[in-house]
Symmetry: C2
Subunit: 541 residues, 2 copies
């Protein structure tokens, strides 16, 4: 641990401020709203809690990583992965162009199965893949870095359902999608607008990506993710990004990240390959992610899973670099395990944590940013199971050194459900992670020797000069935790955290104000979406 | 990460087995019981889940520590602590004998304030304090080690209230106390019976320690903690231990651990000093623990808090070594922070995590075992707040390298309440920590190359030979997590984790069978308790 630099100290203060603003939002603020009191100090504080406030755009880590393997262990995994790549090979299905790319690169292509000489993929990646990616946001103050100790916390991705305390579980709509864009925008602990925050199933499959990308650009100014469900939808994403950022800027800069999942074990399908090629060609970011439920899609052991996912990730990452050397790419993995009794996926348990720690080490050794983790859980509701499992995964991802933490907030039911209450609860945890990774303040003020000397044995620190100078930002303040006495908590209705979270996300949505957008850009986006929607009939494939 | 040795692999397997037995205990087992089905496979499994099963007696860590400070940072804290010890000093109140011990050791004693030359206390400790403590259990198979990578997970300590889903929050009784002894005994993730699991407030203050120590010895065979509320109660504890273990054995071996809290900042009171001296003289273990709510009892910063608690811990630990060189002693700290708005203690937040990581490093550098952490929370009920906060603290304690993890299970409401549901939920987390710290299996079977070669691209691993060989113990199985589909969960009543935990602890208590005890020992314990109770009138001071 070295001294924190000025920027980090600023980051700490800012997070504290965000927390402070938000801290009033729990049960007490709910009461205030019920009495019709708005505006004034509370409103100003709430504003500060929003994205428009001073929260840092991303985390710059000031403490080390938790590492489980030594170099020998990593060598073993790499050697085994090399054997898998050479002797078993990886399948690239239904995409002749990709097979030709591999032939041209000197791989051994037999049908759709591609075999690689040991070290070949690593060399391709290390030749051109950046160790750190800057993803530009529509608001330059929200531009993020991923890699080299920089971390970005991103909402959950992909759920077809949503859940809230009022209406229970139901299919997601575009209105839900917009709500989660707004909540991510308002959450100081989240640095990114995410991608498919939920599937707006009220819209046709072949057009909903237009509304999703539009919503990210219109209702937030944080960076976002694009569509990967078909190459032409990936192209739409790039085209809309060009409207927002300018054609040349997009060709030279990363403005959209995209989730490219392997079909584990050891298969890439044509949909993912199509999207990968569109984004890489356009110099946009790919998160190459083996999606693994160990025991079903990989061996039941930590090392076996690491071996396979490393082989898969190497093949996907190298492909991006062959399509366009230097294209931004992230070593991703979603790795959990299954119940060997029921086959159901399980979360927050120790084995996937070990996989995550190992994969993060492999990514750092390779020299690329890493994606994994998030607030994962198998719970159906935002109860203690949801929280234990989410916290276990979030802590692991934070300490292991994830740079792009997809699924940080909202995830329920193995990813089938985006939860409104879970979202703000996880976002609270996200803000804490920002604080944790900023590390301790080593300055003279941090050492607080004046306080110890002023107070002395048997006294308390509440009123001393050092405390007075520092109390505003000293400790993270959760907007959702209730730390009052039992009597006070009971008198205020004895609400559990989910009930407080319910009041909190409604408050945030009420206070939401859209960030400014250039009217010309907005008009062009509207026109693009209208034109693309008119160009083809609705379809649900 | 080096190769796991045979013992560790056994440990892994055993924990898995415990988990497996327990895994049936959730919603499904509840259903089974409702249909009147008992015995058979379920009963055998439940038995295995109990302490009588094969669960390892303690954790032998196979992975590294998460460390936040470099040597320079630790030097800075030590230098600052040395300045505090010399220039501010520590107060030892109302205990002339202790002051004389310090005078004899060459400290500068002015009234009750004692000042120490830099390095003096460290030298005293390093001369004789053991780096690893073996605490003997009544059942030799349950004897534990603490320090040098060995970790013991211990229930919560001290709550005057209990809570369960059926009866809510109420004062604790000796019946509750016995129940928690039994639950700790039945929990494979917990290695220790703890101490004041809850305050049996239905018994007189001056006699309840007799029933507590008796309950630990009678209803469990795991190691336990003694009374510290008065020197004569500490002596009663030692005397009862001598009945159970033999007089000479107790003098030569640690059979009871004891919690000695500092009155932070920088004060030791006569009660704690009295108990410390009794236990150290009898060669029994002292956990020297500054009890700190940062912002009130220490500065509002991480470094300031570490400086003060290190100074306090050094002074207490050195005292044990002056009383009896070589007496077992643990560097403890309970460190959380307070809300600077309300003064309420807060838990699971980032700043106390940084304090814990730093304190663990200071303890390792000093060469003594370390105590901190647990399933701490400020939540009133076992909701998501309880779980997020507990998981954050448990993960921090596990990765930071706590050797004696007091408060692992049951803690609610800042320690005022022992929760029945929270207890079994935390104990589930404890078992996962055991798995996590055992690390990955680096063996050929762990590498699973045969599985990858057998299965190949696009297939699944469920039926392959490697999976068949390993599925029983591959993944930790929680007895409380519900990973079923939404539809199945809903059909089974849509219970939250707390409701499932309620059924589970009742099941455990139903299945409880007392461990064997020598009839002569039991008779002597009964006689001792009866005699001591008769020797003085009841008193509530």
């Amino acid at each position: 641990m070295s001294d924190t630099d000025g920027a980090a100290t600023d980051g700490l203060t800012d997070l504290g401020d965000g927390g402070a603003g938000a801290a009033e939002g729990g049960g007490r603020r709910e009461g205030r709203r019920a009495r019709g009191e708005g505006g004034g100090r509370a409103a100003r504080q709430a504003k500060r809690a929003g994205a428009a406030g001073k929260a840092p755009a991303y985390i710059s880590r000031k403490i080390g990583y938790f590492e489980v393997f030594d170099e020998e262990g990593l060598d073993l995994i790499e050697r085994n992965a090399d054997r898998v790549l050479k002797e078993v090979g990886i399948e690239f299905r239904g995409d002749e162009e990709t097979l030709q790319i591999w032939r041209d690169a000197g791989a051994d292509v037999r049908g759709e199965r591609v075999h690689f000489e040991p070290g070949m993929l690593k060399q391709i990646i290390q030749q051109s893949a950046p160790s750190c990616i800057t993803q530009h946001a529509r608001n330059p103050e929200r531009t993020v870095k991923m890699g080299d100790g920089h971390t970005v916390l991103v909402p959950a991705y992909g759920p077809p359902f949503v859940r809230c305390l009022d209406k229970g579980r139901r299919y997601a709509t575009i209105e839900d999608f917009r709500n989660f864009v707004k909540l991510a925008y308002m959450s100081p602990g989240l640095h990114h607008s995410g991608g498919t925050l939920c599937e707006p199933v009220d819209l046709p499959v072949n057009k909903r990506h237009l509304d999703m990308v539009y919503s990210h650009l219109r209702y937030s100014d944080k960076p976002f993710m694009g569509s990967v469900t078909a190459p032409e939808r990936a192209q739409d994403t790039v085209d809309m990004a060009k409207i927002a950022f300018g054609e040349e800027f997009v060709d030279q800069n990363c403005v959209v990240m995209n989730l490219i999942n392997a079909n584990s074990p050891m298969v890439w399908d044509d949909t993912m390959l199509g999207a990968l090629k569109v984004y890489a060609r356009n110099n946009q970011g790919c998160v190459i992610s083996p999606f693994i439920l160990a025991g079903a899609m990989s061996p039941v052991t930590v090392l076996g899973t690491l071996t396979q996912l490393y082989a898969e990730a190497l093949s996907g990452m190298a492909l991006t670099q062959l399509v366009r050397p230097g294209a931004p790419v992230i070593f991703g993995t979603f790795a959990s395990s299954i119940s060997m009794q029921s086959g159901a996926p399980t979360f927050g348990s120790p084995e996937p944590s070990l996989v995550l720690y190992g994969a993060a080490q492999l990514a750092r050794r390779l020299g690329v940013p890493f994606r994994s983790g998030g607030g994962l859980c198998g719970a159906k509701i935002s109860d203690a199971q949801a929280a234990y499992e989410a916290a276990n995964t979030l802590q692991t991802a934070a300490l292991g050194g994830v740079n792009f933490m997809l699924h940080t907030a909202g995830w329920l039911e193995g990813g089938l459900v985006m939860g409104y209450e879970k979202f703000v609860m996880d976002a609270d945890q996200a803000a804490m992670i920002g604080r944790l990774l900023a590390g301790p303040d080593m300055s003279e003020n941090g050492q607080a020797m004046d306080a110890i000397f002023e107070v002395g044995p048997g006294q308390h620190y509440l009123g001393c000069a050092h405390t007075q100078r520092n109390f505003e930002d000293a400790f993270y303040r959760s907007p959702l935790a209730d730390n009052n006495s039992f009597e006070q908590w009971d008198a205020e209705g004895g609400l559990d955290m989910t009930a407080r979270a319910n009041a909190y996300w409604k408050k945030l949505l009420q206070q939401y104000e859209a960030p400014a957008i250039d009217p010309g850009v907005l008009e062009a986006l509207d026109a693009f979406v209208a034109e693309r929607k008119a160009a083809a009939p609705d379809s649900n494939v």
